[in-house]
């Protein structure tokens, strides 16, 4: 399925590059380096003279400190080059996703009155939706992307995503919220209360009774109130979710698949790429992160004769690291074969944790050179 080109947005003002900024969405399984890669790609953009902004999700604390997003709110923040560095010609901005804040902002924006916004924001069921409904964080990442894109302040936006496993939750998330809003139970709840409850089918009533038993009748009352309050705002939400979805499908948006050279993460990454394909999208870059370096091997003779004696530990070490590196190579070949069209990058396992801008610069360097394919 290919989406129609994004309609000209009359509200979104003055993007500098024609047609809006380039967008890169980094997806991949847990813990492989999505956040690291996103930040490195934004830094790379800044080095190439672009105004780049990265939306990070749950960065490790030291990386957040390095990007200055640790304590800041929901607004992008300009990252200064480290002292003593020659800096970069472009700009590097970073924002840490605050899913709740972003959702609140949306409610404010689409509420027809201050009173309506107030009522929704203070409703306990609303707080639950943003905290407990699966996919909300993903949805808000997309929403944040859309907001940044619309502002026209950046010409490159990199979006980090939460670990994705089952499917492309962040793409499905807007639909997921819509499905919740469309849920029959809630539809009926939104009818004037008494009529609504009476009109409910037996099954729904049973469910509501269960819910009421769990947390008392006020939960049901809050739920009814929330959905009643929400009325009139859904259309705004729906239209916006649709535009965000179009942005994800636009030609300006690229997907970078991040994985590590291990069987299971490769498996999960290839699964994600299949999910992307179902959406008519493809990963244009693949980053295989945390690879052991490759070494020239010892000759068999040397290996045998040095296997005991003073050099034995060094020989054993080389043998072990070579072994893991060879095993990783098999996984790299697998990724390469499965995704023949994507640009492949190989980032080594760095000696230091990627928590400082210097380490990010190092990662960014490895994202400059495409890996040769066999």
């Amino acid at each position: 399925m290919t989406m129609p080109p994004q309609p000209a947005d009359t509200e979104g003002t003055g993007s500098s590059s024609p047609g809006g900024p380039d967008v890169v969405v980094c997806v991949g399984p847990g813990g492989v380096g999505k956040t690291t890669t996103s930040a490195a790609l934004a830094l790379q953009g800044a080095k190439r003279g672009r105004r780049a902004c990265v939306v990070t999700i749950d960065p490790a604390r030291r990386l957040a400190d390095a990007l200055g997003t640790g304590h800041l709110g929901n607004e992008p923040h300009l990252v200064n080059p480290p002292a003593g560095s020659s800096g970069w010609p472009g700009e590097l901005w970073a924002v840490m996703l605050d899913a709740q804040g972003t959702f609140d902002h949306l409610v404010d924006r689409y509420a027809t009155s201050g009173a309506q916004a107030e009522a929704i924001l203070s409703n306990p069921v609303y707080r639950n939706i943003s905290a407990a409904l699966s996919g909300t964080q993903e949805y808000m990442a997309v929403e944040k992307l859309y907001e940044l894109e619309e502002s026209g302040r950046w010409d490159l936006i990199i979006v980090d995503t939460p670990p994705a496993r089952h499917a492309l939750d962040f793409m499905e998330a807007p639909r997921h919220l819509m499905r919740l809003l469309d849920n029959r139970v809630f539809r009926l709840l939104m009818a004037p209360t008494k009529v609504g409850l009476r009109a409910l089918e037996v099954g729904t009533q049973v469910l509501l009774r269960t819910v009421a038993k769990v947390a008392g009748g006020e939960v049901v009352a809050d739920t009814v109130e929330f959905f009643t309050e929400f009325e009139g705002m859904e259309d705004g939400f729906r239209a916006r979710a649709k535009r965000a979805d179009e942005l994800l499908h636009s030609r300006k948006t690229e997907f970078a698949l991040v994985c590590s050279p291990r069987r299971d993460t490769v498996e999960e990454a290839l699964y994600l790429s299949a999910q992307l394909a179902k959406e008519g999208l493809e990963a244009t870059r693949v980053v295989v992160n945390r690879c052991y370096p490759r070494y020239a091997p010892l000759s068999a003779g040397a290996q045998n004769r040095l296997a005991d004696g003073p050099l034995a530990p060094l020989v054993a070490n080389l043998e072990q690291l070579e072994l893991v590196s060879a095993k990783e190579e098999e996984q790299l070949v697998r990724v390469s074969a499965a995704l023949p069209k994507a640009v492949l990058y190989r980032v080594p396992f760095l000696a230091r944790e990627v928590a400082e801008l210097e380490a990010l610069e190092e990662v960014a360097c490895y994202l400059e050179t495409e890996e040769a394919r066999e």
């Binding site: 847990g30 813990g31 749950d58 604390r61 030291r62 069921v125 639950n128 905290a131 407990a132 409904l133 699966s134 670990p163 496993r165 089952h166 499905r179 919740l180 849920n183 139970v185 037996v202 099954g203 049973v206 469910l207 269960t210 819910v211 038993k213 769990v214 947390a215 008392g216 809050d222 739920t223 291990r262 069987r263 299971d264 370096p293 070494y295 091997p297 010892l298 000759s299 003779g301 040397a302 004769r305 040095l306 004696g309 003073p310 050099l311 530990p313 060094l314 070490n317 080389l318 072990q320 690291l321 070579e322 893991v324 095993k327 990783e328 098999e330 996984q331 000696a351 944790e353 928590a355």
Partner: protein, 340 residues
């Protein structure tokens, strides 16, 4: 300590830690060691309401040389001597909700309700409920284990969500106790809290790698688990630590060439380079890992168990066996610590 006494401390071991540090692997290895000791072990993988985990559920079976995805029904992964075995299953909030509705006389409706998104409705109205239902199911299995029911396991390993989610997951019954004024859900929540807070029935194992961020997060999680969820911590597993090799501190090509010449070998420059570069990487890593292990011991006064890094990109039965041996040795050298 004998592995058997280690495993007889409690009936449910909740295994948690930062994402990707090896929770699933550690569950498999511990269960395998228990099976070698003749115990019937069950690994339960759980998903939280906000987390859908399909493809991952094959990782555990892969470790045992199988590739079937775990489902609701128990799957036998391995049988050991004298009746020992490892079985595994996956628990999901939607099936737990179906079961709950069944048990409370809503059999006919439950499946349809769940298929129409009732889980979302319930999770939205009462966020802790799906998670608590999953824990309720675990408690039911723990009761069966305690009663020695036929077919029941003797020991349950819970492959819990990653640290951040784990706290919310394990706190869910506490939250419901506060919210619910009565009825079956309240009593269920109370029973789960009783299990979580009784160290004879349930304890937690934290998994970390010897790296800076995972260690820091482990220390934080440990405190939250005790304070917020009231769970006793049993041990911390330092996973994937590079085995320490006695490498020379100074790696210079001249000195290495000379040593090689002593053994009658002339090393090519590329060979020397490989030995030196690989040696430096190992020294650097070993050193950094050792420092993190020490820091962990200082900041978290818990017994440490250690599992080595396997030089592989794909953990299967061979690695499982190596890791199980290593865990056995680590447990054998383990001194239970009386914590202040």
């Amino acid at each position: 300590m004998e592995p058997l006494s280690f495993f007889s401390q409690t009936r449910v071991l909740i295994v948690t830690g930062k994402g990707g540090t090896g929770k699933t692997t550690v569950c498999g290895v511990m269960a395998n060691l228990a099976a070698r000791e003749g115990l019937r072990a069950l690994v339960v993988q759980v998903a939280t309401a906000s987390d859908r985990l399909e493809p991952e559920t094959a990782n555990l079976s892969h470790l045992f040389g199988r590739d079937e995805v775990l489902g609701y029904d128990e799957m036998a992964l391995v049988t050991g001597p004298s009746g020992g075995e490892v079985r595994a299953r996956a628990l999901r909030p939607d099936t737990a909700l179906v079961e709950y509705l069944h048990l409370h006389g809503m059999r006919r409706l439950s499946r349809r309700l769940v298929s129409t998104g009732a889980l979302d409705v319930v999770a939205t109205a009462v966020p802790g409920m799906p998670d608590m239902l999953v824990l309720g199911k675990v408690k039911q299995m723990e009761r069966a284990a305690a009663a020695g029911s036929p077919g029941a396991p003797e020991l349950i390993f819970l492959d819990a969500p990653a640290a951040g989610h784990a706290i919310r997951f394990l706190q869910s019954p506490h939250g419901l106790l506060e919210a619910a004024s009565g009825g079956p859900v309240r009593s269920q929540a109370q029973e789960v809290v009783d299990m979580l807070s009784d160290p004879d029935r349930c304890q937690a194992v934290l998994v970390t790698t010897p790296e800076e961020t995972p260690v820091s997060e482990t220390v934080e999680t440990a405190q939250l688990l005790e304070d917020r969820a009231g769970i006793k911590l049993c041990a911390v597993v330092v996973n994937a630590r590079l085995p320490v090799l006695p490498l020379p501190e100074h790696l210079e090509s001249a000195a290495l060439s000379e040593l090689a010449a002593g053994a009658g070998v002339t090393l090519a420059p590329s060979e020397l380079e490989s030995l030196i570069v690989a040696g430096k990487l190992r020294l650097e890593r070993q050193g950094a890992q050792a420092a993190q292990v020490v820091r962990l011991a200082e900041e978290l006064p818990l017994p440490q168990l250690e599992l080595p890094f396997c030089f592989s990109a794909d953990l299967g039965p061979d690695q499982l066996s190596t890791l199980t041996d290593a865990l056995g040795r680590s447990v054998a050298g383990w001194q239970p610590v009386e914590l202040p």
